[in-house]
């Protein structure tokens, strides 16, 4: 019994942090309808920024996270403005060539980081990195819980932003119908720029929260890209609540898979859940939540 509890706790906490990374992607995919394979690389860059803050200026990763978010917001906006936006305006046979551009971007980001930091493994250890609290026989990791709580706060703030502010509503309007938004006088290229910036900032936040308990190297991005995709589809594009539920679902599904099937097949479980949702619930969890 305590094995089940341990599995669920692990999956739940991890899922919360997955969700934060995925929220960035769901925003970008929802508004721009593009598949962004550079998302993981942005997470990675965000983690490096937080790492530098920690090593050079001894800034606690939870504070460094904000610097990292700011920088990534700028980086994301620039990438959108000067690279991806070009393609939106050009007439091409397959809109999917944007995907390839994001592959190129992720290659460049990864290699630039590798150029500076080499392929060495880096990690940040704070005083509470390995701290745990025991609930009965189940261990609960302190940094994971902190990460989970912060992720929840961010998600809620983003939800408020999207629903209560003018800018947020403009973003949602663009996501729902781009052409209509243009007719209503929305400056779509500005909105997409901000969206990409926000998405990148959340990617950085998610990465930074993982930093105290995980490690860092230039190729770490791939891991997150795949997870963020699965969650985005699970939750439904463009939905914060969906991404949150999607993240938790994936986290728990993976943990259960690892415990009761095999750690080697853990990712298969996630992917199968993903395919099933894709096929039988095309709107994602969002379609259930909305009503």
């Amino acid at each position: 019994m305590h094995l089940l509890g341990q599995t669920l706790i692990s999956g739940f906490l991890l899922g919360g942090m997955y969700a934060l990374i995925a929220i960035g992607m769901t925003l970008i995919m929802g508004v721009m309808k593009i598949v962004n394979l550079a998302h993981g690389a942005l997470v990675m860059v965000g983690m490096y920024v937080t790492y530098i803050c920690f090593v050079l200026w001894h800034i606690n990763p939870y504070a460094g996270m904000f610097i990292s978010m700011l920088l990534l917001f700028v980086l994301g906006s620039l990438i959108q403005r000067y690279m991806i936006n070009r393609l939106v305006e050009v007439d091409s046979i397959l809109p999917e060539n944007q995907v390839l551009l994001t592959v190129g971007i992720s290659l460049v980001l990864t290699e630039v980081i590798r150029f500076i930091f080499k392929s060495d493994y880096l990690s940040v250890s704070t005083g509470f990195s390995g701290k745990t609290v025991f609930l009965g026989k189940m261990s609960v990791s302190v940094p994971m819980t902190i990460g989970f709580v912060i992720a929840m706060v961010f998600t809620y703030l983003l939800h408020l932003f999207l629903n209560r502010t003018d800018l947020g509503m403009t973003i949602r309007a663009t996501a729902q119908d781009r052409d209509a938004a243009v007719y209503m006088g929305v400056n779509v290229s500005r909105v997409t720029m901000i969206t990409f910036g926000l998405g990148s900032a959340f990617a950085a936040a998610g990465g930074s929260l993982l930093l105290p308990m995980f490690y860092l190297w230039p190729d770490i991005g791939h891991l997150f890209t795949a997870k963020a995709f699965i969650i985005t589809i699970l939750g439904g594009m463009g939905s914060t609540a969906g991404a949150l539920l999607g993240g938790l679902t994936l986290g728990i599904a993976e943990s259960l898979g690892a415990t009761y099937i095999s750690m080697g097949y853990k990712d298969v479980v996630g992917l199968v859940v993903f395919l099933l949702v894709l096929l039988f619930m095309p709107g994602g969890i969002k379609s259930l939540v909305k009503r």
């Binding site: 995919m29 309808k33 593009i34 598949v35 394979l37 690279m83 070009r86 393609l87 050009v90 091409s92 046979i93 397959l94 999917e96 060539n97 995907v99 390839l100 551009l101 592959v103 190129g104 971007i105 992720s106 290659l107 460049v108 990864t110 290699e111 630039v112 150029f115 791939h222 795949a226 995709f229 699965i230 589809i233 095999s262 080697g264 097949y265 990712d267 298969v268 992917l271 199968v272 993903f274 395919l275 894709l278 096929l279 095309p282």
Partner: protein, 319 residues
């Protein structure tokens, strides 16, 4: 007539090429180019013409390669039989995959294929008793000369080109393009879209599987992380096609040649910065040549023709 002549010239050049480049290293590069050209052309049929962008072609490549490998591993049958069985297995698997995934459109289809490709990779890694897991399968090749491999790869590419060429010139081609441009409109005109997507998918999977089986015989070693790789197979196929030209017959071949040559030159000349330089190049090509090199060339040529026609008219007027 001119067209035929040029085609014959290209064919003769291709046949004579390895006789000019005798060094096995050069021949190896030529073979690699042909492998990617065949893969790209096959992908282009489904992705470029029918508009179904698959991020999971590694699944069919890997299935072809593993069919050949497993024949050798478990049944002690020459992996060359994989050239027959590999594509069949890939095609068979592609039927249910297609029927399931064609319910989805656009990015959703792309992602479903991506997930499928990854599932195949993970299953082949973990199913150790059947696939030998991450240890992979190593064979000792009977043929050590490069020349036979070159001509086989050339045949492979030719087959890929012919199948694609014939299909797109037939009625099927128009259906494919109509599905790509507007699936709903195509459906309302009475085109059974799922069936026609399958008609693009099956040959595409067939060639990809065949190329996989050939790859196994040529490289003589495979493991799941290599042949089912998302980054090094699935995405690379797309990269080759987009570089050369989406929905053009020769585009993938041009893309493959440029891709392989450049990455080889970068690798040997630039050391650690090579991947970086390559990434920058990919970004630039897609930003400035969004339809690929051949695709943009066609556009440029048409523009030039229009201008020329305009020029002739004005000349006439003056005269």
């Amino acid at each position: 007539m001119k067209k035929v002549l040029i085609n014959i010239t290209v064919a003769i050049v291709a046949i004579l090429l390895p006789l000019v480049f005798r060094a096995p290293y050069h021949q190896h590069i030529l073979i690699t180019i042909l492998i990617w050209a065949a893969l790209g052309t096959a992908w282009n049929l489904l992705g470029g013409y029918a508009g179904q962008v698959s991020f999971g072609h590694a699944a069919f490549f890997g299935l072809g390669a593993y069919t050949a490998g497993i024949l050798a591993l478990h049944y002690n049958i020459s992996p060359w039989w994989g050239l027959l069985l590999g594509p069949l297995v890939s095609t068979l698997i592609s039927i249910p995959v297609g029927l399931i995934c064609f319910r989805l459109r656009g990015p959703y289809f792309a992602l479903a294929m991506l997930a499928l490709g990854e599932i195949f990779r993970l299953v082949f890694i973990n199913w150790v008793t059947f696939t030998n897991g991450a240890k992979g399968i190593m064979i000792i090749p009977k043929i050590t000369m490069k020349l036979p491999y070159y001509y086989m790869a050339l045949g492979l590419f030719f087959l890929s080109l012919t199948i694609t060429g014939l299909l797109i010139k037939s009625r099927f081609g128009y259906y494919f393009i109509s599905i790509r441009e507007d699936q709903d409109a195509a459906e309302s005109l009475g085109i059974p879209t799922t069936r026609y997507k399958l008609f693009a998918f099956l040959p595409s999977a067939f060639i990809t599987g065949l190329t996989g089986a050939f790859y196994m015989n040529y490289i003589a070693f495979i493991d799941p992380n290599v042949v089912f790789s998302l980054a090094n197979v699935s995405v690379m196929i797309i990269l080759v096609v987009m570089l050369g030209g989406v929905a053009t017959l020769w585009g993938p071949a041009v893309g493959a040649a440029i891709y392989i040559l450049l990455s080889e030159v970068f690798r040997t000349r630039m050391g650690a910065a090579s991947v970086l330089a390559f990434g920058i190049l990919v970004c630039l090509v897609i930003m400035f040549l969004p339809n690929g090199i051949v695709g943009e060339l066609d556009g440029l040529r048409k523009m030039a023709l229009r201008k020329m026609n305009g020029g002739e008219k004005s000349g006439l007027l003056r005269g």
